[in-house]
């Protein structure tokens, strides 16, 4: 493949749904190095191609499904998909990831990304096999959930397993639920900021990628294989990742409960309810309480993703995807459900409907609390929904997917729904004022993540948990309720996550020293690529997303939690400790650290200059600022 650039396919697949035109644009060398791929490439396209007037549901919005340079190479967990678009919850920038085999299969077809624009006059799916790309009629797929859609396409195309990747929306996406996700390869979900609603608005039911016959070359293949082994060794043996290697995110339930960060019953308590068999919630029990089997993503050796079979209860025998921690929280603790067998079933129902499990947890928990307190009556809802009623929650999914009765309002997400109902009901809903869903923790004891969620520009967290913070000159551990230390950590780490999300790799397999990631990228591409360049690239991407949001009118005035989200815990390890008392201090320090303007939210001209974003100065600061 002499004409193929190392580690890249070198082409971006473009699809104009309004006209049906399909073409390939080059992904030139200078752009590759500047934007890397995934989140970086997506940020560039969003900034350059989506004007302020084109909201999430406008045909001029772009839906970027991008992978990155490591996808298709033998580095663990590199089937990565990053979805970048203007999302339905915040009406701003979105960067959300899923794994599986998307990235690998797309690269073997010869593309680094797919960019949708326009709106199709009828429902279609995109079929990609090497150089043959077609929009095909999807009317027979309508109404099918995401797993049924994949099964139907497997049957139609006569392919099984990883030779065909299908990333699709379920009924919730077709009906434009604002927290609809894109789900693929049985259990991998790009869930944030309603990217599935954007896909639904464009009338794209699915993207079906047959594994292509092309190859991906590495500049230094032996070095790449060696670095990949080193990354694997780090994941297996470093104390910060060894349990992740062994059990994925399952240990989160016990660990987060211990620090008061397990969200129980819509943030009304931080203590296990009485009578709960806590042993069932240990990582080992969550895995072995089901018949299970590994279900790994491209080239991955983590014991993370699994499929499982439900062992008891009304859905006994059903094959489901082992929930992530987020699933155990959103489809479980947030709504008061405490039987893992039932929670696991509900989690896969959400994936199949294509609803974000975090937002669903906050929405369903809110409805349950409102029912308990009489703010939403049985008549309003159409039935009684008590804490922990998993079958009832399943019914809620159906109502949202059909926009039936109150489901029509609930499909708008908990912010819009609670504001519409108003009164006391509005006060118990968990959301950020920008509209994005917090992840499945109680952030009142994870200050770094509440700050990150509220200030983020990607429709979810920007910085994420601290991975090897000492590499950034930060202390290894900080006092979790010290506002200055917390904000400095969140601000300083900014960029690492977006660099990872540009690689086409999984956020869990990139939890290794950043130097190791750089060496891996260097071996793949042949670049002399070091830590500074990685951080700059990541910060460039996330800062451009912020600039995009500012252009769309999303400013710092709404960088705060809803009343309940920012409330003070009444029990548990940090009872009585209030984050809102320190909120201004958190923001002050965060702005100072990131080099953004505290009053207007704009990245300062010198910050933009340092990131090589000179051409963004004028649009943000006006014509005089450049000089």
């Amino acid at each position: 493949m002499a004409d193929t650039p190392y580690a890249y396919a070198g082409r971006i697949l473009r699809v104009d749904l309004s006209t049906g035109r399909i073409w390939a644009d080059p992904f030139p060398g200078a752009d590759r190095r500047r934007w890397i791929g995934g989140a970086g490439l997506g940020a560039k396209i969003l900034w350059e191609e989506v004007p302020a007037h084109a909201g999430w549901d406008h045909p001029d919005n772009r839906l970027v499904l991008a992978t990155g340079p490591l996808a298709g190479l033998p580095v663990w967990g590199t089937g990565g998909l990053t979805v970048v678009t203007r999302g339905a919850l915040t009406n701003g920038a979105t960067s959300t990831q899923a794994n599986g085999f998307f990235g690998a299969n797309l690269k073997f077809c010869g593309y680094d990304a797919i960019v949708f624009q326009g709106q199709s006059p009828k429902w279609v799916y995109l079929h990609v096999t090497d150089d043959k790309v077609e929009l095909r009629d999807a009317s027979s797929l309508l109404g099918k959930d995401t797993w049924e859609t994949q099964q139907a396409l497997e049957a139609e195309l006569r392919l099984t397993g990883h030779r065909l990747s299908v990333y699709s929306i379920g009924p919730a996406g077709e009906k434009l639920a604002r927290f609809a996700a894109i789900q693929g390869d049985y259990g991998h979900v790009a869930s944030k900021n309603g990217c599935g609603a954007v896909m639904g608005k464009k009338r794209v039911k699915a993207v079906a990628i047959e594994r292509g016959a092309k190859g991906v070359a590495a500049a230094h293949p032996h070095a790449l294989l060696a670095t990949s082994e080193e990354m694997a060794h780090s994941l297996k043996t470093d104390p910060s990742t060894s349990s992740l290697y062994q059990y994925g995110t399952l240990p989160g339930v016990r660990n987060l409960h211990g620090m008061g960060a397990l969200p129980i019953r819509n943030y009304t308590t931080n203590v296990w309810p009485e009578g709960v068999d806590v042993k069932l919630w240990e990582a080992k029990s969550l895995r072995e309480g089901f018949d299970h089997r590994g279900h790994q993503c491209s080239a991955c050796g983590m014991h993370h993703c699994h499929m499982q079979v439900i062992r008891s209860g009304p859905h006994k025998g059903e094959l489901v995807d082992e929930p992530e921690y987020e699933g155990w929280a959103g489809a479980g603790w947030a709504i008061g459900a405490t039987d893992p067998q039932q929670v696991s079933w509900l989690n896969t129902r959400l994936d199949r409907a294509c609803l974000d499990v975090n937002e669903f947890g906050w929405l369903c928990g809110w409805v349950m609390e409102c029912q308990q307190k009489g703010y939403i009556t049985d008549k309003d809802l159409g039935f009684r929904l008590e804490w922990g009623d998993v079958e009832g929650a399943g019914r809620l999914i159906q109502m949202i997917c059909r926009r039936e009765g109150m489901g029509d309002l609930l499909a708008e997400g908990v912010k819009i729904a609670s504001e519409k109902i108003g009164g006391k009901a509005a006060e118990c809903a968990i959301y950020t004022m920008k509209g994005e869903s917090p992840r499945g923790h109680d952030h009142r004891s994870r200050w770094e993540e509440m700050l990150d969620t509220c200030t983020a520009s990607s429709g979810t967290i920007d910085s994420g948990p601290a991975v090897f913070p000492t590499e950034f000159g930060l202390p290894a551990r900080i006092s979790p309720q010290d506002p200055v230390a917390v904000a400095r950590q969140v601000g300083t780490l900014r960029g690492r996550r977006h660099f990872e999300d540009s690689l086409g790799a999984c956020i869990f397999t990139t939890r290794v020293p950043i130097d190791l990631l750089c060496r891996s990228l260097a071996a793949a591409t042949g670049w002399d690529f070091r830590r500074d360049e990685a951080i700059r690239a990541g910060r460039r991407a996330v800062t451009l997303m912020r600039a995009f949001n500012l252009r769309c009118g999303i400013g710092p005035g709404i960088e705060k939690p809803s009343k309940r989200y920012g409330s003070t815990p009444v029990d548990g390890p940090i009872a009585g400790v209030s984050i809102m008392d320190q909120w201004e201090k958190l923001l002050d320090t965060w702005y100072e650290t990131t080099g953004y303007d505290r009053a207007s939210g704009r990245p300062l001209p010198e910050t933009l200059r340092a990131l090589g974003l000179e051409d963004v100065i004028e649009p943000l600061w006006g014509a005089g600022a450049r000089a």
């Binding site: 033998p74 099964q151 397993g161 990883h162 092309k214 991906v216 070359a217 590495a218 294989l225 050796g301």
Partner: protein
């Protein structure tokens, strides 16, 4: 002789073997050119890697009209590209479907055990593919002895 021992229950379908194999075969990561392949059945979460078992009585080798398939020092049945004329008879003769035809090079290609250091076994993260000494016990011999007429073999040496 060492052979590839495949334990399908351990396979999680990550396809790393296909990537590494194709690299050995072609110099790029290109699973379409891999000579180990994973049959995956997602609906049953079942994965089965399969490749050439290096048959003692190799039909590919016997079927080849130009004697392009030889036996390597590692014991692998190996296609010699300079002799192969691309007639595909070996791919038809193989009872396991593990001899392939490359439309780009017009040659047959198959597992050559990477010259004695098979990449698939090296990279498999779950040890579903092992490169081990083949058992040499004569398991049909004991079966035959059991069924043989008493005394029929007496005196035969």
């Amino acid at each position: 002789m060492r052979v590839l021992k495949i334990i399908p229950e351990r396979c999680t379908g990550c396809m790393r073997c296909e990537l590494a194999c194709s690299y050995e075969q072609t110099g790029t990561f290109q699973p379409s050119k891999a000579v180990i392949r994973v049959s995956s059945f997602e609906g049953h979460t079942s994965y089965a890697p399969y490749t050439c078992p290096q048959c003692a009585e190799a039909w590919c080798l016997t079927a080849c009209p130009v004697e392009a398939i030889g036996i390597s020092p590692a014991g692998a049945k190996e296609v010699m590209d300079d002799i192969c004329v691309g007639c595909k008879l070996c791919t038809i003769a193989c009872p396991y479907g593990t001899v392939f035809y490359d439309p780009d090079s017009h040659k047959a290609f198959k597992c050559d055990l990477c010259g004695g250091k098979p990449a698939c076994a090296t990279v498999c993260p779950t040890q579903a593919i092992l490169y081990v000494e083949a058992g040499t016990e004569d398991w049909l011999g004991s079966f035959a002895a059991e069924r043989a007429l008493p005394g029929a073999l007496a005196g035969v040496r």
